[in-house]
């Protein structure tokens, strides 16, 4: 071949025309890689157009291609020549995309728009309609399932199966007394069940089918029984208007779509997400205001000052900031101050309000999970504490 000073080595060439590899000779010139065909013809690949096929299993062979010719491949096994090629060809790793970025952006926009329309318009609309007509038995079943999911998801590190329900008889009786005093039965489509879960989070929420869940943290954080009663009345308001059912149906629709977007990379993420979504159930502002109004009426009827609803959240907000469950839930609403003043406005200045529970019942309620400060169950205490310190 041409030139005595260059070193010709053998390589294989696939031209993408027939299922056949051509044995060729390859030489490295200063400006290009030259491929000598068996018939004497020569192909010249300029160094800056040379690309290497990535992620190849066989590390002894370098697979090369030439930008602009997607079919031809050169299989170069000679180590010495591979080194020369790596030195000369500056853009071996460059990626030449055939898919136009504008097209991707267009469809990405389409995908986002379609998901947004479904999650923010279509699904809420349908959920509202369906929640109205779901029979109470169906709602109960939905609530039961969700309740168990939440207990499982919140069982800390998963060493114990599910979160414990606090069922100290005196405390349960105190909670029941509070509920009886508020006496909302006339408004409800079904009976209400109240549970206290043994968890330090300051939170309470309503589930479909009339399950109300309080966390131990909220009972411990409250200054007086009226504050707990105010939260209870507010959550009963959600039950009356079936907000939890609507929200559960909505998340059933939205989560499937979100799972589609993110890919179910680790199956459990979705389950976690469901629980999180339900606990921090973000009802609409209208739904919150409606539940507040209902709570004011209920508290007023029971001769308890409605102002407790506002003051409790206000104090929690000051103490904990925005991060905590119920505080974030309520305090992040921009009309927080409106709601506090609404609570104050609902107070009748000429009236002499009672407290909802006497001192002994209040103590019973606060220790429904087994008393202040003592770890609720010896099993999970060692699991939590070391982590606490490491943070």
């Amino acid at each position: 071949m041409t030139g005595q000073d260059v070193n010709w080595v053998f390589a294989d060439l696939a031209r993408g025309e027939r299922a056949h590899l051509t044995r060729v000779q390859v030489a490295c010139y200063p400006e290009a890689l030259v491929i000598g065909m068996p018939d004497g013809a020569q192909i010249t690949w300029c160094w800056n157009t040379l690309r290497r096929v990535r992620d190849q299993a066989d590390r002894r062979v370098m697979v090369l291609l030439h930008n602009g010719d997607p079919l031809t491949r050169l299989y170069l096994a000679d180590q010495g020549t591979q080194e020369v090629v790596s030195r000369h060809a500056r853009s071996l790793g460059k990626r030449d995309h055939a898919t136009p970025l504008s097209k991707i952006l267009l469809w990405a926009g389409g995908a986002v728009a379609s998901v947004a329309v479904i999650i923010f318009l279509l699904v809420p609309l349908m959920a509202t309609q369906l929640a109205e007509i779901l029979p109470p038995e169906g709602e109960k079943a939905l609530g039961d399932t969700t309740f168990e999911q939440i207990r499982t998801a919140l069982s800390e590190t998963g060493f114990e199966g599910r979160l414990r329900i606090c069922d100290d008889p005196a405390g349960t009786a105190a909670m029941q007394a509070m509920y009886t005093r508020l006496n909302p039965d006339a408004d409800l489509p079904y009976d209400v069940q109240i549970h206290v879960l043994d968890h330090p989070m300051v939170n309470a929420f309503a589930l479909p089918g009339g399950r109300l869940v309080f966390f131990r943290g909220l009972l411990e954080e409250a200054d007086n029984p009226d504050e707990v009663a105010a939260v209870l009345a507010h959550e009963i308001g959600h039950v009356v208007y079936r907000d939890p059912t609507r929200d559960a149906l909505r998340s059933a629709g939205s989560l499937g779509v979100l799972g589609l977007l993110f890919g179910d990379f680790a199956g459990g993420t979705v389950a976690l997400f469901i629980a999180n979504q339900l606990i921090n159930a973000s009802y609409s502002k209208a739904a919150e205001a409606r539940a507040d109004d209902y709570a004011h009426g209920l508290l007023e009827k029971a001769n308890v000052s409605p102002v407790a609803l506002g003051t409790f959240f206000e104090r929690l907000h000051e103490e904990h900031g925005d991060a905590e469950g119920i505080v974030a839930h309520f305090a992040s609403h921009p009309q927080m101050t409106d709601r506090i003043s609404a609570a104050q406005a609902a107070v009748d200045p000429n009236r002499d309000y009672d407290t909802i529970l006497e001192a002994q019942s209040w103590r019973d309620l606060q220790s429904v999970c087994g008393g202040h400060g003592t770890p609720p169950s010896s099993g999970d205490a060692p699991a939590k504490k070391p982590w606490t310190q490491s943070e």
């Binding site: 299922a19 898919t99 389409g110 059933a252 993110f262």
Partner: protein, 391 residues
Amino acid sequence: MPPSNLTISYAGEKGPVFWLALRTGILTVLTLGIYRFWAKTRLRRYYWSAIRPGGAPLEYVGDPLEKLLGFLVAVVFMAFYIGVVNLILMYFSFALLNANYAAYGLSFLGLTPIIFFAQYRARRYILARTRWRGIRFGLEPGAWGYSWRSMVHWIATLCTAGLMWPLTTLWLEKYRVSRTFYGDQRFVQGGAKGMLFGAMRHVYYALGLSVAATVMLVLYGNPAWVLVYLLSGPWLIYGWAYWRAESFKRMTEAKQLGEMRFTANPRPGRIIGIYALGGLMMNIVIFGVFFVAFLALGLVAGTTDLESINIEDMDVATTALVPVVMLVYFLFIILTRAMTHAWITLPLAQHFAEVTEIVNTQNIADIVQRDRDEFSEAEGFAEALDVGAAI
């Protein structure tokens, strides 16, 4: 020309595929799943290039951006279906059946035609992006035909408690393979209807023996019959491995590509060995990781003053713990996947590749290139439904 054969050599190695899977897995989590299109493409490039019939590697030329685009296209259509259908099914399942497992079941049933459709489309995309010796593979359109046939065959299989499975396997393989091309040459899948029943025989023997033992146990109450399970249990495992090996052999040897034929001799013992060894190694590593983590935890716990922790710190710590737990969880999944690639997927691919041979290849150079299958949706539907090939 005299008859000639091509053996298949395998260049994949456990170390590189482990690091590739680990790196791409971590990037996938860090990018909230967006990198998964690149991750899959890179792993495929690796696995494809490891298979070298006659010394020339297969090449996977799929473009991650094209996969991303296909996924976005699928999301635009699927989001509506999944969002609305999930919501409606959830409603009906709770309204009529008071349970949510029915919703999952129905939702899955509603998706099955699309799942089979997506599987065929994914196969078409993958084959269209696979080359050997520079020549493209290809699959003719026919996804809906595949979808309804699959449904019919699966229903038949379920109705016969799985006895029909060998026939289903062969029929669906025939549908796919007979539409597969290499260059301009069409593959043919031969084989009589009963061909694969023999490959299932050890499963039948083991099941028959177990049923007989159970019947005798119930009839005579002699606990000695339980000992039969000691034989039939391992026999069932062997039967499963025998099915994997023998069904592959029988179907491969009944395939034709022009005048080319194939031979294959996979060994059931090797398949069991790969799973046993891989499983053992993975357990050792996972146990080791847990052991070290446990020691570290114990060390922290030992130096912590348990009495000085107050509840408020714990709340903060619990909140901060969630991302840590999530991160550990994701790392665990990524590690498991990477180890599965290195110890199970790759050795299996290696075994099946090395025992396969292509015979009568003397006229292979007559095969010419086929046109590019543009296929803008790529395997978007399979991606969206998460039913694509494992790699």
